[in-house]
Symmetry: C2
């Protein structure tokens, strides 16, 4: 799959726009709007952090209707731990945007990313929304991918298409994320657009499975964010036979959605803060899949393993220590095979020989640059 | 409490010696022997890592007799994940040493620290033991503290004394540890000597409580080691009235032991790999103590919090994110007070206002130097 530009505008009926409203310094892009010409079947997945950000709370509420038509996202301020005032900003953002677009408030989803614990200056968003909503276009997909970046060094886009009968169905997506990345979920925003006609129940299950097999397999620093949101809008304009969990289109849809999400998840790891290496950890032979994932994440989140990979000396004892500390079922010996830690892509394979459980997890090395980036991010 | 030199030889009847046997490069001190003139009541606490090192397994076995008279410890090689051969080395070390000292094998405890997964060259230990055991002296306490160091930059010693009736009881201890530090336990070795006369059951409970309130309150990198061992020898030469859980001496003993352990635990955090700051995290108002500790450790182990402290910008949003990710009971607001992250000693106080649970945890900042040290340690 190639990194498709303008991804979220590839499905029929989607437009977008982005601008710099002043939440970030130096007029950098920080506000994005995604719009579907018609109301779309919609659902989302969100952080499990107790202190979920205001837009997470508002979007969850709006998704009660199972429909959405627009997403407004800002970077530069997380609008998290901002109390009632923060909730009001998130609600006002949705309301103001809905009015400008001539749709119901609940059809607008909101998302934020940035510093935690600071109030958002709503006037900046308010001032920018009219121009944003009146200049929506079919070619602003990449601009949106830039507007949601924080410490990301690269915009992240992916798309896939498949046929249901004679109808061509397209899925496009943008994501941001580089630090504060851990399952569940990675610290990130991901917005997915598709022109598929699909039942809400099928969309929900497909999204959950795709996230489970992509964003929930990556970790950068084991830190769970307060703002993680994956939102999907399916507007039906591909005019395919409506996808249900029972028909053939569902399998194609799930497969394409998973591919898009996995591609973005890997881009997040590739772009991990300060990282110099991409690490794949494959654990097999665990008692069951959950134990395999636990072991893989224990290795992936071990600072000592991650610094060893950065150093390039294949200090595999730290893999053993991490597995042993994870509390999973093991025998006295495990089979371990690692590529050289000197490579750009490091592969670690662990066979626990206890059962049929398997898992793959993706992570990055821990570098002095990661420390510097996060020491200076204020 | 001041950092007492020669601490482990301060209690009556203890001698020690250390040398460089060649496990470390450049003839640096790497082998230590601690000896009590008479058999001592003894117990220990060990890592919970599934891949516990060979000396951990052997010492646990020997402590089945509730007695010990000597400790042999090497640095430079962890003798962990070394299979049967590693176990044999640990057993041979104890046996050889016992023979030279003219005592039973089971009275010798063993401990190791260093790289995981490499076989120990026993011949080096074998060659060094005769001179070591024949040159035991009352003034080698500090030498022992140096011989067990790995990435430590400072030797760590502490001592305390108190009276039981007219008898003066002394406790002395050495510890090593700087990285791979997490509860349970911190990655470390700690050897404690005392001339107290004390029942085994009382010693065991006092040690467990002291470790719980010292080494289990510190974290450097959240990585659990394979070699953690805390060993205590109580030889009774103070000739105090035997301490039991019921008499007054017990309270004094527990208090002194806890002081010694906490002093060493704090020295470990002070000496944490690459650290520039000492952080105290106090959580109160949790549902119960266990939740308070969980929250405190979640903050202490957050790479994002630790890099923020390194950076000096008081990015307290990361404290909120860490608490929220920990899964403990919270309300929508917590009371947070932090000293400036620019200070050498950073204090974070969190009041959850949910109950009476309290905990204090000590940790360090995450720095580029930590990454470098662990990237280069091979």
């Amino acid at each position: 799959m190639k990194r498709s530009l303008n991804a979220i505008c590839l499905p029929k009926g989607f437009k977008a726009q982005a601008c710099g409203c002043g939440l970030k310094k130096n007029k950098r892009l920080d506000l994005a709007l995604i719009f579907s010409e018609v109301p779309a079947v919609s659902c989302g997945m969100f952080t499990r952090n107790t202190f979920a950000a205001a837009p997470v709370i508002v979007s969850k509420g709006h998704l009660g209707t199972a429909q959405a038509q627009a997403i407004v996202a800002n970077s530069g301020n997380a609008n998290c731990y901002t109390g009632k005032q923060g909730l009001q900003v998130a609600r006002k953002t949705a309301r103001h945007c809905a009015k400008l677009l001539g749709i119901k408030d609940t059809l607008v989803l909101v998302a934020s990313t940035g510093i935690i614990g600071r109030q958002v200056d709503f006037s900046k968003i308010q001032r920018a929304l009219p121009l944003l909503s009146s200049s929506l276009q079919r070619k602003a997909g990449q601009k949106v991918s830039r507007a949601i970046m924080t410490t990301d060094t690269q915009p992240k886009e992916a798309a896939a298409c498949f046929k249901v009968g004679k109808a061509l169905v397209t899925i496009g997506a943008v994501a941001k994320g580089a630090g504060m990345i851990a399952p569940d979920m990675a610290t990130m925003l991901c917005f997915i657009t598709t022109d598929a006609a699909i039942q809400h129940a099928a969309l929900k299950t497909a999204l959950r499975e795709a996230v489970e097999n992509s964003f929930n397999l990556i970790t950068v620093d084991g830190c769970m964010s307060t703002n993680d949101s994956v939102l999907i809008l399916a507007n039906g304009l591909a005019e395919n036979k409506v996808i249900t969990k029972q028909n053939k289109g569902y399998r194609h849809f799930k497969s394409a959605l998973k591919k898009v999400c996995l591609a973005l998840a890997k881009m997040i790891v590739e772009d991990a803060e300060g990282a110099t290496k991409f690490i794949t950890i494959v654990v097999s032979g665990a008692k069951h899949n959950a134990e395999a994932k636990k072991a893989a994440l224990a290795i992936a989140n071990s600072n000592l393993f991650k610094t060893a990979v950065y150093g390039g000396g294949t200090n595999w004892g730290r893999i053993i220590a991490a597995i042993g500390a994870s509390g999973i079922t093991v025998k006295s010996k495990v089979t371990l095979s690692c590529s050289s830690f000197k490579k750009r892509h490091v592969m670690v394979k662990v066979d626990l020989a206890c059962g049929a459980g398997k898992a793959v997890v993706y992570t990055s090395d821990l570098t002095p640059e990661y420390v510097k980036i996060n020491a200076e991010y204020n």
